[in-house]
Amino acid sequence: MFVKQLSVFIENREGRLEQVTRVLADENVNILSLSMADTTEYGVLRMIVSDPEKARAALCAEGFSAMLTDVLAVRLEDRVGELHRMTHILCALGLNVEYMYALASSGKRAMIVKASDGEAAAKAVTDGGLALYGNEEMCR
């Protein structure tokens, strides 16, 4: 039901992002999607990658704070109103979106969503006729 998102804490200083991408490249980990949430002092890099466990271990070994978070990957068609369909379902049930970002990679199209209540959100969107990517499917 969920996919594993790799979240990495990085300070806003030169070269940190470059180090993260280098570690992932060295470990042969592919980045399918990425979003960066930033404050003036630090950022949280959120990624959907081909091998989240391996990526997390490699980053921690390099001294980064990295964790895996369960998020939803909601399949969306490339057409008008598709995102609204999803947000409407969540809104109708009073579920909040903590953050979301798009994924469009190797034939997959999805909105990555972290909802206030993941389980309830997963049920709501599937009940509403939308499909979710599973972790195996995503990382394959």
Partner: protein
């Protein structure tokens, strides 16, 4: 002007006799009234009768902040609580405060000492003096306040916080004297300029203390405001502000020797040092009733000078303080120990994360930033979670030290470590 010529200008012989007589009484009093002191004296085989004058001072054991902690809160008080009219407290190294108690007589003596210091700064009964130290458990505000009242000038109890209001009142009330930390006075000077009221200020003298500063900073205050600036010293355990202050000749701080017997000792060997040599200041409170201290190690570094001063006072002078023997920081006049920050972090995180305190001075106001390394259990994928975390940490530290603090989360292992231990403080202030 000299507030109490009889006491401040006695001949050294007379003074030393008075100190001797008071020391004998002090030792007798603590031996009979304070079990903790009695045991300490018994442990070294000392009876009150063994102390016959100031020549016997070095037979007595030292007292430290650890003794105050061991007897928290009132264990070293030499009178029943019914005779204590006030308590003050300062921050301790491990979260528990150091509590000091005063009898009515102690408050009188304290007021007298502060009155002497204010007079040394050239202020008198007809002056209007703003006290811009914090009022409350900290000794600065109330200590200065009572001194101004004793001396007979008009006191404006500003406390700290609203600088514009302070400047407005300074203009409207025709304030001529101010007592506050030196860095705060420089900040006030900036606000005076910002408000464009420089030519409406009648200020002529300031009495500054409660934090380390330099002669250069004192001159800067004098030039910037066109006033005389004086240094005042004190510590809550011994009394509060007013233990010593400098006169118009600025050749060190006259210590109120009829009430406080000073020694300067080597901080490692604890052997007395001769005049001019820098070491740890040790004070015996000759007249204090509530919390008498025998050979109290202040952890402040200075040297002593017994030669006569041109002002006519015969009291010994302490050189400008050059630092501390421990890791205590003074930030905006508040005593802060890194161990307090550590304890606050431990309480919140369950383990002690690596941290770094960065003390700086921005627009003459001290700032404290605490960088905390991200660790397992701290991290969140949501910014809100991280902001809550830094807010919680900041609140916890603020509760522990009584100062607003900015918390910055940093990456794991990004803070410098030396010899396996991390370096916990960077003090960027220059005190110039």
């Amino acid at each position: 002007m000299i507030w109490n010529e009889t006491k401040e200008c006695m001949s050294r012989d007379e003074l030393e006799n008075l100190q001797g007589a008071r020391l004998v009484k002090l030792v007798d009093r603590v031996y009979h009234n304070v079990e903790y002191y009695r045991k300490k004296m018994q442990a070294v085989g000392l009876l009150p009768g063994d102390i016959r004058g100031i020549g016997d001072l070095d037979k007595l054991p030292f007292t430290t902040k650890d003794d105050l902690r061991a007897t928290y809160p009132f264990g070293l008080f030499a009178v029943p609580l019914s005779q204590i009219t006030r308590v003050h407290a300062s921050s301790g190294t491990t979260g528990k405060a150091t509590v000091v108690g005063y009898t009515r007589h102690d408050i009188d003596v304290w007021s007298e000492c502060v009155a002497r210091c204010i007079t040394m700064a050239g202020l008198g009964k007809s002056d209007v003096i703003q006290v811009a130290y914090g009022y409350g458990l900290f000794t600065g505000g109330l200590g200065a306040h009572y001194g101004v009242e004793k001396m007979g000038a008009t006191v404006v109890p500003m406390s700290t916080g609203n600088t514009k209001k302070l400047v407005t009142m300074m203009v409207d009330f025709g304030v001529t004297g101010i007592m506050c930390t030196p860095s705060y006075l420089l900040h006030i000077a900036e606000v005076i300029d910002e408000m464009g009221v420089r030519d409406k200020i009648r200020l002529r003298a300031s009495i500054n203390g409660a934090e380390p500063w330099t002669e250069k900073m004192r001159r800067q205050i004098e030039e910037r405001l066109g006033i005389h600036s004086h240094d005042i010293y004190g510590l809550s355990e011994v009394m509060g502000p007013g233990v010593a202050a400098d006169c118009s000749f600025h050749r060190g701080l006259h210590i109120q020797e009829d009430h406080f017997l000073p020694e300067v000792v080597d901080q490692h060997t604890l052997k007395p040092l001769r005049d001019g040599m820098t070491g740890e200041l040790v004070i015996s409170t000759l007249t204090k009733e509530g919390l008498p201290l025998i050979r109290y190690r202040t952890k402040d570094l200075t040297s002593i000078d017994h030669t006569p001063c041109e002002c006519g006072r015969t009291t010994a002078r302490l050189a400008r303080f050059t630092g501390r023997t421990d890791d205590m920081l003074i930030i905006r006049g508040v005593n802060v120990f890194p161990s307090q920050v550590e304890a606050a972090l431990l309480e919140m995180a369950g383990t002690t994360p690596h941290y770094l305190m960065i003390v700086d001075r921005v627009d003459n106001l001290d700032t404290l930033e605490v960088q905390v390394e991200m660790q397992e259990g701290f991290f969140s994928d949501e910014i809100r979670g991280l902001e809550n975390l830094s807010g919680r940490i900041a609140h916890g530290i603020q509760q522990a030290i009584g100062l607003a603090v900015k918390v910055k989360l940093v990456e794991p292992k990004s803070l410098e470590r030396s010899d396996g231990k991390s370096r916990h403080v960077i003090d960027k202030r220059t005190f110039d």
